[in-house]
Symmetry: C2
Subunit: 211 residues, 2 copies
């Protein structure tokens, strides 16, 4: 089976529980996964640490990273840059770890373009009513914020067809195991095992010749 | 998640253990799976039962099945027909069971052509040496038979690129669980969940309009 790490993008509606799923995945299988950390030019919020939530860099540094092709993908939202540093991701993949990026749909499609064997997962609650309920139940968001999140969710749902898996987060622990097994099984995809298949073929050819 | 059954073709080198894997799968998950039984015009061998190993039918009956388009795929080997009756397969799929066909590579590709959302799994021992060893260790086959099986295996390995998964049968119970989880996860493929995705989208659209 393929031993190289797989690049995995996890996207999903806000309120779908992506963050929690990924946290659990890394807690349970620390040897299997690495979480990519984004770089950003926005200022850290209270409690955020450099190298944990984000790498906080200056605009100048970020633009140098763009020039040096040191980012897998990047985008500018409002007046800040956000991007995925390449070096760490490639290093972890080379060590056989599956690297998870949590990014939204436009970024995901850019990653897929640059690295066509990226696995794209989309996490959703079982239905939209549940999504609304979860946003409301947080109790921390205003009606306007909830409405704008729901509108954003509708927009995000437009690109889902380009994803590989649509994972329902109904019961958290089940969902974590499902995501884990989807990624694990992906290593057995024929397209990721050409070298192994070629080896077996060459051996069989030898036997058929009576070697 | 998609509730319709998935048509699954399992192929693999003879000696790879396909039969045992499928037997274990049906024993462990009888509610999930149905095994398709082929029809054939060859005579039953001692111990073989009609409706268990095969449906044993006359040449006339088989040709009527062909005419009535009652077979998913069929082929003629030596002087006998072999084929997959359609009715049972479609009935089981409709009931939400995943239906497994154990057929070789030419048949598998015909099934995929007729039913493009068929999942194709190829089972292999970890390497060709292991395959040879298993054939030799059976102790029931002559050297000529083993050689011809190895030659056949080499020929079969030619179509593997058209399969979805390349499953290594190293440790039986692990392999059974892997096959089970591959099939289970397949239900979460985006392409199998368009209706669900459409529903969520329609709901979100409603919320965005303030419904």
């Amino acid at each position: 089976m393929d031993k190289k790490g797989i690049l995995v993008v996890v996207s999903g509606f806000s309120g779908a529980g992506k963050g929690t799923i990924m946290k659990r995945l890394l807690e349970e299988y620390p040897e299997n996964y690495a979480l990519s950390i984004s770089a950003t030019t926005r200022a850290p919020r209270p409690g955020e640490c450099h190298g944990k939530e984000y790498f906080f860099v200056s605009e100048e540094t970020f633009e140098k990273m763009i020039q040096k092709d040191a980012l897998i993908e990047y985008a500018r939202y409002v007046s800040n840059y956000y991007g995925t540093p390449k070096e760490y991701v490639l290093e972890q993949l080379g060590q056989g770890r599956d690297v998870i990026l949590e990014i939204e749909i436009q970024g995901a499609l850019k990653v897929k373009e640059a690295y066509p064997d990226t696995l794209l997962l989309f996490v959703s609650p079982p239905n939209a009513g549940e999504l609304k309920k979860r946003l409301v139940n947080r109790g921390t968001e205003s009606k306007a914020t909830i409405d704008s999140r729901l509108k954003r969710a509708f927009e995000e749902a437009q690109g889902v067809e380009q994803y590989d898996y649509f994972v329902i987060n109904d019961e958290l622990e089940e969902c974590v195991q499902e995501v884990h097994s989807i990624i694990k099984n992906e290593h057995a995809r024929v397209a990721r095992n050409y070298a192994l298949i070629e080896n077996i073929r060459a051996e069989l050819k030898g036997f058929a010749k009576g070697e």
